[in-house]
């Protein structure tokens, strides 16, 4: 009995130490890493393309796929509503905020990035319209393909994406061409 009691006490001490290690060291460390990762996902220059590869779809009609995809793209913290036009293969996203609040430079860069991402992943998506309070931006597949690559889906791996998409977005002149 006494031996077993000692063993129980040792186990309880191990349990308390393990609990404290997990709760006060591992979880805060993981949370900090996750917060840093999430912050990077909200910026088109640091976004991780591998985070959205599972949303590849042949058709624009899958509403939950569209909503989940834009939850993992930059501007994901801005509340939004979707409208799908499956006949014309158009997607409209209404962001419920103003350009001024979010930051015009960021919005311009992120919308280009989101459009390339969505068109690379959704095969029959022809056009995306972004609506903000007081501003509307339209991106067509033709325009995106001319600026990046005629086979957008071939860009969908980390190295190619960094080289042919993200690196171009550092250039503000390149981004501003979409808004002329």
């Amino acid at each position: 009995m006494d031996k077993r009691n000692k063993l129980i006490i040792v186990l309880l001490i191990i349990g308390v130490l393990a609990f404290c290690t997990v709760q006060f060291i591992i979880i805060p460390h993981n949370k900090a890493k996750q917060d840093e990762y999430n912050a990077r996902q909200n910026d088109s220059l640091t976004h991780d393309i591998e985070n959205i590869l599972s949303y590849k779809s042949a058709y624009i009609g899958d509403a939950s796929n569209n909503a989940n995809l834009f939850t993992r793209l930059p501007l994901n913290s801005v509340p939004r509503k979707f409208k799908i036009d499956p006949d014309d293969c158009f997607l409209t996203i209404y962001y419920l905020d103003t350009l001024r609040n979010i930051g015009e430079t960021k919005v311009h860069r992120d919308l280009v990035y989101n459009s390339v991402s969505a068109m690379a992943l959704i095969d029959n998506l022809k056009q995306i319209t972004y609506g903000f309070s007081g501003a509307t931006f339209i991106f067509t597949r033709e325009e995106i393909e001319n600026s990046f690559d005629h086979d957008l889906s071939s860009l969908l791996n980390k190295e190619t994406w960094n080289e042919k998409v993200q690196s171009k977005l550092h250039d503000s002149d390149f981004v501003s061409r979409f808004y002329e």
Binding site: M1, R4, N5, L7, I8, L11, L12, I14, G15, A18, F19, V22, Q23, I26, I27, N30, E50, L53, S54
Partner: protein, 218 residues
């Protein structure tokens, strides 16, 4: 119902209602009736014969199959101690699951340890030399039942997890992506939790052996 029948029923009131016990009950009742008739034929009045007959058998505990005279509180204390021991191991094994946001499992095991601990300490306060008849077959049956329940639980949860995690590939045409150690761990933890609960049937499965260890031999 005659008085000896009632008495026989009372003798077996706390025994399991199996066919073997029923046969034994019928046999005891027959013996009591024969003894009463014998005493009456020896000249005893019926009421006196009934009293003497009842006095001849005061308990059937020692003739029930599987019953053993046991240090009952020692046995119970050892059962609670074993549950506390295995519960503590289960709690430790549940702690890593907190990282994967499986907090309820760890909370449940923690409170289970507290419950087992309190029960163990309470049981220790009782007189450890008290003896009583305990049926070993009942504990063997309980052990088997707990193993069967656990096995069903394990199979159902494993099949469910597999269907939800990997079947969605068929249902939604979207394959599961294990992109790194965290993604692997979040899948593995769903199998890990049902698997580690095997400690509970192992703990309960040791009760029949503990019962044998706590038998009063003299």
């Amino acid at each position: 119902m005659d008085e000896l029948k009632k008495y026989t029923e009372a003798l077996f009131a706390h025994q399991p209602q199996t066919s073997k016990v029923q046969d034994l009950k019928d046999e005891i009742y027959g013996n009591l009736l024969a003894k009463k008739q014998d005493l009456i034929s020896q000249g005893y009045a019926e009421s006196e014969a009934i009293v003497k007959t009842k006095d001849s058998i005061l308990s059937v505990d020692n003739i029930i199959e599987g019953n053993q005279l046991t240090y009952i509180n020692r046995f119970k204390t050892e059962c609670w101690q074993t549950l506390l021991l295995y519960g503590s191991v289960l709690w430790i094994l549940s702690i890593p699951t907190i990282i994967m946001a499986r907090i309820p499992f760890s909370i449940i095991t923690f409170f289970t340890v507290i419950f087992f601990g309190i029960s163990y300490l309470n049981s220790k306060k009782n007189n450890q030399d008290e003896v009583a008849f305990v049926n070993g077959n009942r504990y063997k049956k309980m052990s088997r039942t707990v193993w069967i329940i656990w096995f069903i639980f394990f199979v159902v949860s494993t099949v469910t997890v597999t269907a939800v995690m990997f079947g969605s590939n068929i249902w939604f045409a979207r394959p599961i992506r294990i992109t790194g150690p965290y993604a692997f761990a979040s899948v593995a933890v769903r199998y890990y939790i049902p698997a580690v609960t095997v400690l509970l049937p192992i703990a309960i499965g040791s009760f029949p052996k503990m019962l044998a260890n706590n038998e009063r031999k003299d």
